[in-house]
């Protein structure tokens, strides 16, 4: 690894988050390098989504402790707009569907670059067009979000985050409502964005094989604590997943030579 590619863009030290007496995250440490891919895995209720939300400073309630630095600067020193220019966020699918067309929705993501009186600049249109191109949605730009299929809609959310032109992208289970074909398509798209566009990705996923395909690092959480952080290959060894999920897994060689795969027993 060269010195330039190992520049840390996000560093998290001792991050804890609690609501009342409930500890959601306890002393979580991890970091993401520029252009890196960090897959966050763990059982339901492990605090994975909360971790992403804390990185985006979204929780309105609760108490956050610890130190998070983005591009070498403490998170709390960022204005909300500055943060949005550095980090974008793809929320969990399946919630409220915004009443906009795909094109309108993607253009809304240019807000971090706007002032109250400014109208859309050429750079805004270009960013939106490119985001639609990258996700293959150009033809659907005029369709309302609620008329799209689940897979298309999830891509629209991804396109909107891309239009933000942020260096880091946080994704919360982007494939959770997708069928296998669309999930594989989305995963391929994310890997391409990571490798070709140099986007730093931090992605919560339930697909344990996705980290292996994407490479980079894996962060395993259970009960709000870090159980593992390191190269994804670490998931293949030891009992990290077994301890986190309290379930046994088998590791097999893929018959088509696609490397190792992890299957629940």
């Amino acid at each position: 690894m060269t010195a330039a590619s190992s520049k840390t863009v996000l560093s998290v030290q001792g991050l804890s988050y609690s609501i009342g007496a409930a500890q959601i995250l306890v002393d979580v440490d991890f970091s993401a390098e520029e252009g890196g891919f960090v897959s966050v895995v763990g059982p339901n209720g492990a605090g994975k989504s909360t971790l992403l939300r804390c990185l985006m400073r979204l929780p309105e309630r609760g108490r956050t402790r610890g130190r998070v630095e983005a591009a070498g600067r403490p998170l709390e020193q960022y204005s909300q707009k500055e943060l949005a220019r550095l980090i974008s966020y793809v929320p969990q699918a399946g919630g409220w569907i915004p009443p906009f067309t795909v094109g309108e929705f993607v253009l809304l993501s240019r807000f971090p670059y706007a002032t109250a009186v400014s109208s859309l600049a050429e750079s805004d249109r270009r960013a939106a067009e490119r985001a639609l191109e990258l996700t293959g949605l150009t033809a659907l730009a005029k369709r309302p979000l609620k008329n799209l299929s689940g897979g298309e809609r999830q891509k629209a959310f991804l396109a909107a985050a891309l239009a933000q032109e942020a260096q880091v992208m946080l994704l919360d289970e982007p494939a959770s409502f997708l069928d296998p074909r669309h999930a594989a398509e989305l995963a391929g798209l994310l890997r391409a964005l990571n490798r070709e566009e140099g986007l730093t990705m931090i992605m919560v996923t339930h697909d344990l094989n996705h980290p292996l395909r994407a490479g980079g690092h894996a962060l395993v959480l259970a009960e709000g604590r870090r159980r593992y952080f390191g190269p994804v290959e670490g998931l293949l060894e030891g009992s990290v997943l077994e301890e986190a999920f309290r379930h046994n897994f088998v590791r097999l060689d893929h018959p088509n030579g696609l490397g190792r795969v992890i299957l629940p027993e």
């Binding site: 500055e82 929320p91 915004p98 906009f100 807000f111």
Partner: protein
């Protein structure tokens, strides 16, 4: 037709409709008579009808813009100053003022009813907000139920205040509750113009943020919107506009429901277009309703609140049934 062109046509049509209203009434006024010096019709036009049309326009603009804001804030098309109990809160405030004005002679000039209506509006919004919030999230049903409850409760309190008042104040309260633009002081018109225009300006500067808020609170925050601050700001602006209108004209229902809904059907969801659209469409709509209230039983006047309610009730049902078909209110 592009949305911008549609907006332009809407504004033009609204202005023409509103400007035409003062020419009609118990006796119609011809435009020529305005050019003749000291013509009695000109006097009626400038002294009575024009200020009243202006008041109706401003009240309609304020109510429909606040409806638009509440709907974006709660992400619910049925959220209006009326359904959220803000109007009844403002009514309670104003009734208490009239009542106290009767016994202890509160002398606060024109700001008295305004301030007390504002206090009432603020109180009811705070209650609905807290109840909805306490149940977690912003559930449509909880919010509407909370609004209905607060509405009932405050309406009962208004009746109680009316019961306590002497007959003169009681009549004043009752007349005011029906919503009317008759007997309006020109000085108050300036207050209203200031609140509505200033509120409209603030809201249009926040149009992009309101768009993002419509897309979802967390999404808005992740795009750089200071969500808490934004919600507080637009909540205050909308409540102040409602308070100002209600203190002047009484609670006029359904304007905040119909105008924003019609504008969204026509223009889509960009608040950069919707804010000016609801301002002009709401203004023109209420000016026309006021004309109807003067004409229907002429020479008697039907309170304007009754006119809007007669139109608004069926409209409300239409939205509900229309929503039922695809299970989605927006």
């Amino acid at each position: 037709m592009t949305p911008k062109l549609k907006l332009f046509i809407l504004i033009l049509a609204s202005l023409i409709a509103a400007a035409a209203c003062p020419f009609f009434g118990l006796s119609h006024i011809s435009p020529e008579s305005l050019t003749i010096p000291d013509h009695p019709d000109a006097e009626v036009f400038w002294r009575l009808r024009a200020p009243r049309a202006a008041a109706a326009f401003l009240a309609g603009a304020g109510l429909s813009m606040s409806g638009l804001i509440f709907q974006a804030l709660f992400r619910n098309p049925l959220a209006t100053p009326f359904t959220l109990g803000v109007s009844s809160g403002a009514s309670l405030g104003a009734s208490v003022y009239f009542w106290l004005g009767g016994i202890v002679l509160v002398r606060t000039g024109s700001l008295g009813p305004l301030a007390s209506a504002l206090a009432g509006a603020g109180l009811s919004m705070f209650l609905v907000w807290s109840v909805t919030r306490a149940r977690g999230g912003f559930s449509t049903s909880v919010m509407l139920l909370a609004g209905v409850v607060i509405n009932f409760f405050f309406s009962s309190l208004v009746l109680f205040v009316q019961y306590l008042s002497d007959s003169h104040d009681s009549l004043r309260i009752m007349h005011w509750l029906m919503g009317s633009l008759a007997g309006l002081e020109t000085a108050r018109l300036a207050d209203l113009a200031f609140v509505v225009l200033f509120g409209g300006l603030i809201v249009s500067l926040m149009a992009k943020e309101i768009d993002l808020l419509t897309a979802g609170e967390e999404l808005a925050a992740s795009r750089g919107v200071q969500v808490k601050l934004l919600k507080l700001k637009i909540f205050l602006v909308a409540s102040i506009m409602v308070g100002a209108v209600v203190s002047l004209s009484g609670p006029i229902g359904f304007v905040g429901l119909m105008a924003p809904h019609a504008c969204r059907l026509m223009l889509g969801w960009s608040h950069r277009l919707l804010v000016p659209a609801t301002f002009f469409a709401g203004g023109a709509f209420l000016t026309l309703c006021d004309l109807a209230s003067r004409l229907v039983l002429a020479p008697a006047e039907v309170p304007i609140g009754i006119v809007t309610a007669l139109l608004g009730g069926p409209f409300f049902l239409w939205i509900l049934f229309r929503a039922g078909s695809d299970g989605d209110l927006f």
